[in-house]
């Protein structure tokens, strides 16, 4: 008995194939291994390392959002896609705002 009557959306695994999951898994694993390798073998340090591992993390999240959750492949009005970006906007305000404020306080309250 196959499932019928689900909306014809490729979203959230609607018609996600095993191939898509397998590819997503392999890419995620690869990106993870590169990040751990950079730290483990001390290839980079300081700001360069920070940028590299953060970049790899963002890349991996994009891979997972694309290949596992099919974000961006919706048919019709992309409610899910835009809700995600709204969340991202709020998140940046909260996180960057907090980090900026705390760093600023830290600086201003330093001992003379």
């Amino acid at each position: 008995m196959k499932v019928r009557n689900i909306p014809h959306q490729p979203l959230f695994g609607g018609h996600t194939s095993t191939a898509s999951y397998a590819l997503g898994f392999v890419l995620s694993l690869l990106l993870t291994m590169i990040a751990f390798f950079l730290v483990g073998k001390k290839i980079l340090s300081g700001t360069a390392l920070g940028v590299a591992i953060f970049g790899l993390a963002v890349l991996q999240v994009m891979v997972q959002l694309r290949y596992y959750l099919n974000l961006g492949k919706e048919v019709g009005p992309k409610w899910n896609f835009w809700a995600f970006f709204f969340m991202l906007a709020l998140l940046l305000i909260i996180v960057v705002g907090s980090l900026f404020i705390m760093a600023s306080l830290n600086y201003r309250m330093m001992a003379m």
């Binding site: 008995m1 959230f12 993870t32």
Partner: protein
């Protein structure tokens, strides 16, 4: 007033549930972002206690990362099987997901137990307070996913693949995938930055 009851079609129930759950996941992201920001601010507040480089082990972090990637993979595969109407395959993949989830949880538990044995608790320093909070809020979500998976497994066993179990399996797979995505940030910000001395 005499309002007519609203009747939804199966297709509408499916769309609404998925969108609603997606919105929940997004709010959960905001919550985790707040915990991560707190950790980032407090990570050097080690007081007299251990630093990140003292307590984090690269292989532990890598191991549990692979586990979580696998768990979300099998949750997705379980749904693919359900989409094809295969009850046995669905249940099998879901069982594998549960086993892997339990493995992750016990690994995290033993890491924490190990730290507590050495006398390093959330009361030792701001860094450790923030660390234990991030790790355990995430782990409680994993525990919830495991319990949910067990309940759904029994529903699949007794009722098979129905409109309802399929819809629930879809959002459960989304939940596992979301937890895996969160862990990417956790291991990057906590473990990699910690061990890398950032």
């Amino acid at each position: 007033m005499g309002e007519q009851p609203i009747v939804y079609t199966q297709s509408e129930r499916y769309s609404r549930t998925l969108f609603g759950f997606w919105l929940y996941l997004l709010t959960d992201c905001l919550m985790f972002a707040a915990f991560f920001a707190t950790y980032v601010v407090l990570r050097n507040g080690t007081h007299d206690g251990p630093t990140a480089q003292d307590i984090f082990r690269l292989w532990h972090a890598f191991g549990v990362t692979v586990l979580l990637l696998a768990a979300s993979l099998f949750a997705g595969l379980s749904r693919v099987e359900a989409f094809r109407g295969k009850k046995m395959g669905t249940m099998l993949q879901l069982m594998i997901t549960i086993v892997i989830g339990c493995w992750f949880l016990s690994a995290t538990f033993f890491e924490s137990a190990h730290l507590l044995e050495k006398g390093y608790s959330w009361q030792t320093s701001a860094f450790l307070s923030a660390f234990f909070t991030v790790i355990w809020v995430h782990s409680l979500h994993i525990l919830a996913a495991i319990i949910w998976s067990l309940v759904l497994l029994s529903q699949l066993f007794f009722r098979g693949i129905t409109e309802h179990t399929f819809r629930r399996l879809t959002i459960l797979a989304m939940f596992w995938q979301f937890l895996s995505i969160l862990w990417v940030f956790t291991f990057t910000i906590v473990y990699l930055m910690g061990i890398g001395g950032l």
